[in-house]
C-alpha cells in the first residue's frame, strides 16, 4: 500500500516507529550475519532505551497529527525516522572512511550539508553504511571492511547487493533504516536498488549539495536516496534539495528558477500538443478496474503533463537477460493501459557512453584521490618507505599499502588517460562523447534543457523507461571469477543518465507470472527525465510503477538457514 501523505507530510496511520525500533535493535547486533551493511554505528544502537524512547516519542508526535492540527510541531515528514548514510558522506559524530583503509578512523570536524539537513529535519543518523571503496565497484565487494552481501557470504547462493551504495540498500531492505542516503556516480544507487527491489533515486546533478561528500568523479557524483517507496524518496528529497553556497556546483536559487521556467515551457508545449495525443494507443477499456479508477481520479494533474514515454532502441542489447527484457515489455504494456503513448526513440551515442564513463570517471578519480598521502590525516604512516618506493616516487609506498586493488587500477587508468600522450585520444574523446550523450537526450525530451540552447523538440517524450541493469542480481561466487571489465558492464544502462546529469529513479519491476517470486529474480525499471525534472520522475514512479508489488511486505532477502529466523518477520 502506498504511503499516504498530504502537503509533504506523512499520514499518521503510516507511522510505526516503535515497531521498527525493535527490529532495528534486534537486527543490528550482529551486522556481519546480516550481510555487513554498516561500517560504524551510532551509539544509540547500543542504548536500546534511548532509541526506543526517541522513536516512541516521535511516533506519538506523528500520531498526534490525526486531525491535521499538529503539523507545525513536526520538524519534517521524516521527523524521528532513521536514516543510514553512505560512508563517503561526512558526519561529525561518526567516522567517515569511504570503506578504505587510507581513511581508517578519520573523524571529520564538519558535517556534510546533507547530514546537516537530515538532522535539522529531525532524522536520526543511525549508521554509516558499507560501500565499495571510494564508490568504485558495482557489487559492494571492494570494501576494506568486508564485502556486503545479500545472504550469508560463506554459503552458496549469496547474492550481490549491487554497488557502490550496497550497504545503504541492504540497510533499507533489512528495515535497519527508513531511508538511506547514497551517492550515484555511474549507477551506484540505482543498481543496488534494482538488485534489492528497492526504490533508488539519483537526482539531477547539482540538485543536492555535494559539500562534505568525498568525491569519486566530481563531475558525475550526485547524492541520492534509497527507500522502500517513491513516496519516502519524495519526502526525503524535499528535505535535501536546497541551494548551498558552500558547493559551487549546487544549483542556486536563480538556476532553480530557470529550471522552473523550462518546466513551464514544457507545460505549454504539452497543452498545445493535444492534437498529437492519439487515443488509438490508449486501450483504457482493457485496463483493470483499479488502474482505471486511479487513472481517472487520482492523478489527473500528473497525467496531463507526462503523456509520451520514450523507449530507446539502443538499450535493447543482446546481453540483456530474458527476464529483464520481459519486465521491460511488461512495464510498457502496463503503462499503455493508463493511456500513455509509448514512443520508440533513438539515442545513438548510448553505445559509447560506457567507454566514455570509464575514461572520465577514473581520470577524475585519479585527480580527486591524489590527496590521500597520509601526511595530514588518514591511516598512520608506519614504514620508512611510506614516502618513496625504490624508484623514488613520492608517497607510492603508502598509497600502495592503503588503497585497494580496484582503486589502484582506476587511478592508474585515470592517470594514463590524462597523460600528455594519451589525453587527446582518451580524455578529450570521452568528453566529446559525453557532450553527444547530453545532446542525444535533449533531442528527445519535450522539456527544454534549462542551461543549454538545444533546438526545441516538437512532440518530444516526457520520460524514458529502460531497465536499470541488464541482468538480475548475480551470485557472488560468479563475481570472483569475473574480470573487472565484465563487472563494468553492469553500469551500461545507468551510465548515460549520469553522463548527462539527468534525474533517474529505479523501481522494482513486475513479477513474472510463471515464476515464483525470489530475491534473485529482482529486476529494476528505470525512469529517466529531463535535467531538472526530478519531481516528474518521482511522481511518475510513485503513481504508475508502484503496483507491481506490495513494497511494504516485499521480501527482498536471499534466505538461507541464518536468515530464516527473521526473514518471515
Amino acid at each position: 500500500m502506498p504511503v499516504r501523505f498530504d502537503r509533504g507530510h506523512r499520514d499518521w496511520r503510516d507511522i510505526y516507529l516503535f515497531r521498527t525500533a525493535k527490529t532495528i535493535l534486534r537486527r543490528s547486533q550482529f551486522p556481519p550475519h546480516y550481510g555487513n551493511p554498516y561500517i560504524s554505528v551510532n551509539k544509540s544502537l547500543h542504548d536500546p532505551e534511548y532509541l526506543i524512547g526517541r522513536l516512541k516519542r516521535a511516533q506519538r508526535l506523528h500520531r498526534s497529527t490525526e486531525n491535521w492540527n499538529n503539523y507545525n510541531i513536526l520538524k519534517s515528514a521524516n521527523d524521528g525516522h532513521t536514516v543510514g548514510i553512505k560512508d563517503n558522506i561526512l558526519t561529525r559524530n561518526l567516522p567517515t572512511t569511504c570503506a578504505s583503509r587510507v581513511l581508517k578512523g578519520f573523524c571529520p570536524s564538519q558535517d556534510a550539508t546533507v547530514t546537516k539537513l537530515l538532522e535539522k529535519a529531525g532524522m536520526l543518523v543511525l549508521a554509516k553504511t558499507n560501500m565499495d571503496e571510494f564508490g568504485m565497484g558495482s557489487h559492494s565487494m571492494n570494501s576494506a571492511y568486508g564485502p556486503v552481501t545479500n545472504g550469508d557470504p560463506r554459503r552458496q547462493g549469496a547474492l550481490s547487493v549491487g554497488g557502490s551504495s550496497g550497504g545503504s540498500a541492504l540497510a533499507v531492505a533489512l528495515d535497519l533504516a527508513h531511508v538511506a542516503i547514497g551517492t550515484d556516480t555511474g549507477g551506484s544507487i540505482r543498481l543496488p536498488a534494482a538488485y534489492m527491489s528497492l526504490v533508488g533515486f539519483k537526482p539531477s546533478y547539482g540538485m543536492i549539495s555535494r559539500y562534505g561528500v568525498v568525491p569519486y568523479a566530481n563531475s558525475l557524483d550526485t547524492v541520492g536516496i534509497i527507500a522502500k517507496s517513491a513516496a519516502d524518496i519524495r519526502l526525503t528529497f524535499d528535505i535535501l534539495s536546497q541551494p548551498d553556497a558552500s558547493d559551487p556546483t549546487c544549483l542556486t536559487t536563480g538556476s532553480r528558477t530557470r529550471i522552473r521556467m523550462a518546466k513551464n515551457r514544457r507545460r505549454v508545449s504539452v497543452l498545445e500538443s493535444k492534437i498529437h495525443f492519439t487515443p488509438a494507443f490508449t486501450p483504457r477499456e482493457k485496463a483493470p478496474p483499479i488502474a482505471r479508477a486511479r487513472a481517472r481520479n487520482m492523478f489527473l494533474f500528473q497525467r496531463s503533463f507526462v503523456r509520451r514515454i520514450g523507449v530507446p532502441l539502443e538499450y535493447n542489447i543482446a546481453e540483456m537477460h530474458p527476464l529483464v527484457r520481459w519486465a521491460w515489455t511488461a512495464t510498457l504494456s502496463h503503462l499503455q493501459t493508463y493511456g500513455f503513448e509509448i514512443v520508440p526513440i533513438s539515442l545513438p551515442s548510448t553505445k559509447h557512453a560506457l567507454s566514455s564513463y570509464y575514461v572520465l570517471a577514473p581520470a577524475e578519480a585519479a585527480s580527486n584521490l591524489a590527496k590521500y598521502d597520509g601526511v595530514r590525516y588518514g591511516a598512520p604512516r608506519t614504514r620508512p618507505s611510506d614516502d618513496d618506493d625504490k624508484a623514488g616516487t613520492l608517497y607510492s609506498g603508502y598509497r600502495h599499502d592503503n588503497l585497494g586493488p580496484e582503486v589502484q587500477r582506476r587511478i592508474l587508468l585515470g592517470n594514463y588517460s590524462l597523460s600528455a600522450g594519451a589525453m587527446d585520444n582518451y580524455f578529450i574523446q570521452a568528453q566529446k562523447i559525453r557532450r553527444m550523450v547530453q545532446k542525444d537526450f535533449s533531442t528527445v525530451f519535450r522539456m527544454p534543457h534549462a542551461f543549454h540552447d538545444y533546438a526545441p523538440v516538437k512532440n518530444g517524450v516526457d520520460v524514458i523507461i529502460v531497465p536499470t541493469a541488464p541482468t538480475p542480481p548475480p551470485h557472488i561466487q560468479f563475481l570472483k571469477d569475473a574480470s573487472p571489465v565484465e563487472s563494468y558492464m553492469n553500469d551500461v544502462f545507468t551510465v548515460p543518465a549520469s553522463l548527462a546529469g539527468l534525474p533517474a529513479i529505479s523501481v522494482p519491476g513486475p513479477r513474472h507470472p510463471d515464476f515464483p517470486w525470489k530475491a534473485e529474480r529482482a529486476v529494476g525499471i528505470q525512469v529517466i527525465g529531463q535535467y531538472g525534472d526530478d519531481f516528474s520522475v518521482i511522481y511518475f514512479a510513485q503513481n504508475f510503477l508502484t503496483n507491481f508489488h506490495n513494497l511494504k511486505t516485499l521480501d527482498r532477502l536471499q534466505h538461507d538457514k541464518v536468515f530464516k529466523e527473521f526473514g518471515s518477520s
Binding site: 568525491p215 556546483t249 585527480s367 591524489a370 590527496k371 598521502d373 595530514r376 590524462l418
Partner: protein, 558 residues
Amino acid sequence: MDESDSPLLPAPRWYDDNAPLRKELKDAAKAARKTSASAPSESPDILPDWELTVGIEIHAQLNAARKLFSSADTYPTVEPNSHISAFDIALPGSLPVFQPAVVLPALRAATALQCTIITKSTFDRKHYFYHDQPAGYQITQYYNPFAVGGCVVLTAEDGLEEGREVVVKIKQVQLEQDTARSQEEDGATTLIDFNRCGQALIEIISLPDLHSPREAAAYVRKIQSILHAIDAVTTGMEQGGLRADVNVSVRRRDASHEGFTYAGVTGLGQRTEIKNLSAFKGIEDAIKAERDRQIRILEAGGVVEGETRGWSMTRPNETRRLRGKEGEIDYRYMPDADIPPLYIGLDLIKFVRQTLPPLPTELAKMLVEEYGLSATDARTLVLLDDGDRLIYFQKVVAELSSLATYSVPQPDLGKMAANWVLHELGSLLSTDERQWSDKAVPFDKIAEIIHRVREKQITGASAKLILKLVFNGDSRPISQIVRQEELAFSEMSAEEYQAIAKEIVEKFPKHVKDIVEKGKTGKLQFLMGQMMRHPRKGDMRAPEVEQALRQVIFAGKS
C-alpha cells in the same frame, strides 16, 4: 625548494623597505652604472657570437584579503597553520568556493600590463605530488587564462642604455594557488606551514623577447614596480611575494634559424628552465651562468638537454641540474569540474581601466614636469615606501604653497621640499635605522620648517636642528622651538661676525697657524664648525662665517 625560504636569503639589492635610504640610492646608482662596467669575474652582458633568448614566468602574490578558493585570511605574519580552511589542507569532502575578492587586484595587474581581459576563463588542475601541495594538484588557468597578450616597455629609466627600448610581450596572465611554505628542520623532518597554501597568485608569462641578462632583471624589476604601484601585490621579491622561473636558450647569431619554436617565435635553441629565483641579482646571475654553460656545451660540440635547473646564492656562477627530461613531470592538466567558469563583466573591466592608479613611470614624469624634481629624485620618491613618501611629499608641497605669502612657482617649492623629504629626513631615518612613518615628522611641521628657511627666518643649520628635534619626538610647535632654542635668525652685521671670528681664532691658535703657514685650508672647516656652535649660531649663515674667518685670519698675517 623555495629559495626565498632558505636562510641564505640574498641581501636586498635594489629596493627594500628596510634598507637605509642612502644605500638604496647608492645601489640605484650602481645599477645604472652597470651599463658600462659589469661585475668582476662575470662575462659581459651581450656576447658577440651568441644570441641569448630568455622568457620569464613571474609568480606574484595578489593583495587580497581571502585565499583564492577559501574564505581563510591571508594575514602574512601569524602563527603557522592558523589561517587554513578545510579546502586549503584538502580535507575529504571540502569544495573550492571562488572568492570574488581576488578578481580586482588580478584585473588591475592585467590591465596595467596592457593585457586583453578574457570575459570567460576556466580553472584547471595541474597534478604533481609534493608535500607543499596537499591536494596533489594545483588549481591554475592552463587552458583558458583570464588575460592574454599584454606588453611591458623597458627604457633607459629601467636601467637600459640611453635611447634603447625593449618591448617584452606577455603571453598570458593567469590566476593560480600558492603552495604551502616548507622548512627543512633537519635531514629527516620538514615543517609545513599551510597559511600560504591556497593564496591567490598571478602568473605572468612573457614571450621570449629578452636577449640580455640585465634586461631580464630589469623586466622583473619593472613588473614588480608596476604591480606595487597599482596595489596588486603586498610584498616584493625580498619578502617572497614575487618569484620568477626563467627559460634560457642560446643560438649562434649567424646560424640559419632552424630550431625550436615557442609561441610563434621560431629558430630558438633548446631551452632549459631555472626554477624559483627570488632576487633581481639572482635572475641576472643565473641567466648568465646558464647561458655560459650552454655555450660551453655547444662549443664543445655537445647538445643542450631540455631540463629543469636550479640556482643558489651561494654559487652564483653556476646552475645545477634538478631533473632532466626523462624525469620531467607530466602535469596531467585537467579542467576542474568543481569550479564554474569565471565571468568578468565588461563594466568591471571598464571600471578597473578608469580607476587604475598611475604607473611609476607616469608618476616620475609628473614629478619632473610639475614639481621640478631631478629624474633620479623623482624615481626614488616614487619607489620609496610603497608610494607613501610621495603622498607625504605632495602634502608638504601643498602645505608650503598655502603658507607662502605670495604665489611661488610649484617647481621651486617642489625642489626644496624634495631635498628635505628625501635627503634630510632620509638621513635621519637611516642614522636611526627607523622605518618610514609619516607620523615621525608630521607633514605640516616639516612644511613650516621649510617655509621658515625660505623666508630666512631661520638658517639651514637651525632648520636641520629643529627637524632633528621634531624627529626625536619634540612635540612643541615649531614657533615655540625657535623661540625657546633661540634659533630665530636676525641679520648680524659684518662686525659682529668678525668679533665672533676673532674669539674663535684666539681659542685655536694652532689651527690658525696650520692654515696660514702650511696652507691647510681644510682646518678652516673645523674653525667654521666651532664658530657655528657659538650661542648665536641661529643667526649665522655659512658663507658669512667663512668670509669673516678668512678676513680675521688672513688680515692679521698678510
